[in-house]
Amino acid sequence: MQKVWAFVQGCFLLLRKGSKLYYAWVFSLLVLIAIGVVAYANQLYNGLIVTAMRDQVSWGFYISNFTFTVGVAAAAILLVIPAYVYDWEPIKEIAILGELVAVSAMVVCLLFVTVDIGRPDRFWHLIPKIGILNFPQSLLAWDVVVLNTYLVLNFGIASYMLYSYYYRREPNMKYVFPLLMFSIPAAISIHTVTAFLYNGLAARPFWNASILAPRFLASAFCSGPAGMILMFQVVRKWTNIEIKDKAIFKIAELIAYAMFINLFLLGAEIFKEYYSDTVHLAPVKYLYQGLGGHSDLVSFIWTATIFNLTAFFLFLIPQTRENYVTLNIGCVLMFIGVFIEKGMGLVIPGFVPDVLGDFYEYSPTGTEILVSIGIWATGLLVFTLLLRIAVPIMNGDFHVGEDGVKPHIGDQLFFVRKRVAVEDEDLYSP
């Protein structure tokens, strides 16, 4: 126990150390978080009336972001599977980063649910035994369970492994391996349950399609890893960690397959709706064509579709996949594309037209956007701090000292511009 405490203390010591750039980055995130907190305080004080949500469209930007971030959290298993199931060394080296992404994404996703509820003061009603968690009846209860499980699981695996490396010993795979294997179905379950949350509502034909859960999974394996490829490049450029090109290109290849399945499933859904041409076509029409003079989402969804298609080809063709310019363009396009498709493009058409045929065109208010920015900044901050600890440990720059108690910190700066001549000390040069 003492050792754990020493490790935690060491971590906090480490978090305070860093380059000016590290401080600047953390500080700017804190500013964004503060803005988000103020916006949220305003929402708490006035009620959700400060959002653009109304009875007709009762979920909006928050739940869109929630849905998308559940997908981002999938990133971990796209690393865990090649690393531990196929024992592929280049990815095994960085699998832990995937888990940290998952942890941060889960924090973001739980925060988005929290800001969406009308009575956050009654949050304890969800805690089993103290409150009443309507499990297994409510899919939202399932979501509470699986999301928290996934969060704890990834946090547990990553911190145990880092803890072991800190004390300079190999993690005991007897414990870790089953957990890693369990994290694979757990990752699938968070997506499936979140999809079922929508899927199970017969009132909303747009969601009430059995293809929704597979689509969720497929698109999740695009957005999260795409974001991760970008993140890997930033991390290996600015910190002292090695990430092999091979690993990145392999992830890109896996994304291409996932995107193919995503586009295929989407096509299947669109075909079914248009060809059968029932009353359930209305939300799809609203989304892709506009309906009854209401067309706010049309330009968004076509942007998303074009982005996803373009990204798919960029990832599919080996030449563009292994060229960092086109690869990065692909990643950005895909991240945005899935953000629109899995976010607003999924949530809003469930409500437009509403169950009685009313059209209310929802677009988020300033408060919603500021709160969301604050939450994303929180996620980035959590991720940065986790990286601050993980990267030096993985590099061997942060471990227990010779006395077995005091930490040894070999990396005082963390955020530095690598591959820059040593004499160039200006950290802020472009």
Binding site: I49, R54, D55, Q56, V57, D358, Y360, E361
Partner: protein
Amino acid sequence: MVPPPPFTEGIFPCSECHKEMRPNPTRRELKDEHADIQLKNHAEKERWCLDCHDMKNRDKLRLVSGEQIDFTESYRLCGQCHGDKYRDWRSGIHGKRTGQWNGKKQYLLCAHCHNPHNPRFKELQPMPPPMRPENIR
């Protein structure tokens, strides 16, 4: 428990005026007191006051059978032609009931909603429409 039939204020009992008058069975346009009474959308060609109002006792209505009934029983008169509505009204489907769903009820008579001389339901001014969601702030 039946609310009184809706008369124009102060004209009942009819006998107050009609007692002194000699009944005039000729079909004609009504003048003076009853100028406002005109049959509309109610088989006006085929019908005349004394088909329903008893000629001798103006405080009573008169069924085809010759039976005299009170104004409070006017539904029997209407029911002579509108048998289906009469049946529905008696079972609570047609017309309005107030009071208790599990006990005493008040029944509205046909004439409470339909002017017997011009029975088509009067158009109403609707209450204001709901606010559009974009205007709820």
